[in-house]
Subunit: 346 residues, 2 copies
């Protein structure tokens, strides 16, 4: 579709624009990029590229800037093909820092966002592990007093969730103990999200003696999962957006930050998409929210074993250093998965 020279011109425009944040003229390219043709030829090529939708002009006598389509082409065809390989040394450096600074998983995720933002100079965000995907390692009912019971759920990633609930009738300590043991036997090893189905089903039949008690406790436990949408989103470097000339305008900065501050939208954006690819790049208009249609969002997943349990990503103007961001993210993706596994076996 695009011949070789058009691609080289396009890449030159992108490269220049990524660095300078100014519309790129034909003369700039002919002087600074060794394409072996004159500015007039490049002018013609750029005109073609504009017709094809890869370049835009802010006004009739200005240089060109890359369109979303250009960035998409760049990411899919130029970057994917070549040179994104991991800098092993850098990876290990970061790994060392992360391990040194992080004692718990949430702290690890938060530190990752911090370092990622520092490395890339963009706003970074990271999702804490999703508890619904965890396997249950232990469940315990702890009596606090005659009327209060604490349900403690421990996941295999060491994440703990607890809920206190009150009963309208006393429960004997031994009874709780037996229910605790029973639930443990039945539920241990299941993923948190599958527990719901099991709980409402067979358990009652198998453990009929305690039906009246279970009747009261189980809804509480299920409810605790229902409400358990509290995946934490860690942000770092929010104000870096101000460093980009495209956000000099207060209105734009405001709408960006409003978006970032809205946890719900942020979760939608981070969780909505497929999780199929390890690295996902969403460019400008591809975003589902209008407020960030001039932003690009790049996310990577991290895993526990072979299960994807969380995400880490970067958001910034579409004029983004895709190469650096993507390679940084690959590195974080790998590191996080490794460190989490390590933390758990510690």
């Amino acid at each position: 579709m695009l011949d070789d020279r058009k691609i080289r011109v396009l890449c030159a425009v992108i490269d220049s624009y990524l660095r300078e944040a100014e519309p790129v003229g034909s003369r700039t390219i002919s002087k600074e990029y060794d394409l072996g043709v004159s500015s007039a030829t490049i002018r013609n090529e750029m005109s073609d590229l504009e017709d094809l939708g890869y370049l835009n002009k802010p006004h009739s006598s200005s240089g060109r800037i890359p369109s979303d389509k250009a960035y998409r082409f760049y990411v899919n065809n130029i970057l994917k093909a070549e040179k994104i390989r991991m800098d092993v040394e850098k990876k290990e450096d970061i790994k060392r820092i992360l391990i040194r600074e992080s004692r718990e998983i949430d702290e690890l995720i938060q530190n990752s966002a911090k370092i990622l933002s520092a490395i890339t100079n963009y706003t970074a965000m990271a999702l804490s592990p999703q508890i619904k995907k965890m396997k249950l390692k232990h469940i315990q009912l702890v009596p606090i007093d005659e009327r209060e019971v604490l349900v403690v759920l421990v996941g295999d990633s060491g994440i703990v969730k607890n809920t206190i609930f009150r009963l309208d009738q006393d429960i004997a300590y031994e009874q709780l103990e037996r229910i605790s043991n029973f639930l443990n036997r039945k539920l241990k090893g299941l993923t948190m999200s599958s527990i719901k189905g099991v709980m409402s089903g067979e358990i009652f039949k198998e453990f009929y003696d305690y039906k009246s008690t279970l009747d009261r406790i189980i809804p509480v436990i299920i409810d605790s999962f229902e409400r358990n949408n509290d995946v934490e989103v860690y942000l770092d470097g929010v104000t870096r957006i101000f460093d980009f000339p495209e956000y000099r305008d207060t209105e734009k900065a405001k709408s960006f930050i409003s978006f970032i501050e809205d946890k719900e939208q942020l979760l939608n954006v981070l969780l909505n998409n497929t999780l199929k690819e390890d690295i996902e790049v969403i460019i400008g208009e591809e975003n589902i929210y209008d407020t960030i249609k001039d932003c690009s969002l790049i996310t990577a997943t991290y895993k526990l074993g072979d299960m994807t349990i969380g995400k880490i990503g970067v958001i910034g103007p579409t004029r983004m250093d895709y190469l650096t961001v993507i390679s940084s993210l690959k590195l974080f993706s790998a590191n996080l998965s490794e460190i989490i596994e390590m933390l758990l076996k510690r």
Copy 2:
């Protein structure tokens, strides 16, 4: 020190400037505030007020704007004296909403910040209850497997803190059980912060049989308090700062948001100060951080019983609607204390 007319002029300047955000001229005052004197007289008064440090001029031929000293005078002498009384109806409205929307304490605090920001149009922040001030209601050691133990601490406000720790030696279930009971007996009712002292002291003597086990467990529990500085800060309406003309400038907005985003600084500011007054007003230069020397910060406390356990506040430009903010905060302070008590007795 200030005669009556000077005070009236000063109040007029403040009133006008709070509303218009523009330097106030003598003519404006003589026309819009019924002081019964001509603009020339007001001009003389304003000149005096400038000499006394209550007014400033952005440039030699502009109107005056109030200084920090003026706002301080206004808050201390004008507002304190009169008209800050609680709008009981409004208080009850808000109380109803808060109760309806909040099931847990943390949710309550977060919702409070949200509503406070919506009411005042400033950035609101709220501190979750400080766990160190809580009384311990229950402590439980839950065995997860042979080498792992979960320590669960339940505070009297229902806040739960847990830490998993690993032992280098197996512990029998019954032994844990007995330690658990023992710790409960010993520590229940103490404030979290006083536990540290007790733990490292007498316990060993009284329970010598378990010394070897306690030796390993206790440091972990203490450590969990040490690290337990994780008071949550909830923010809401961060981007409202953009609505104020004094923050049109991107640099200013950036430094404000950088400050707000830095949890550590924020905690310092919120916790550093005395807690003596129910309502605390910090104006401009009185702030300890340079980045917010053109902001005012108004905070209120909320209590559990007679113990102050948290704070809620508002931050914005020194040109702030002190009256509205202070009366709103009084109302939230009262509501929060009442609702928390209610939630706990539920």
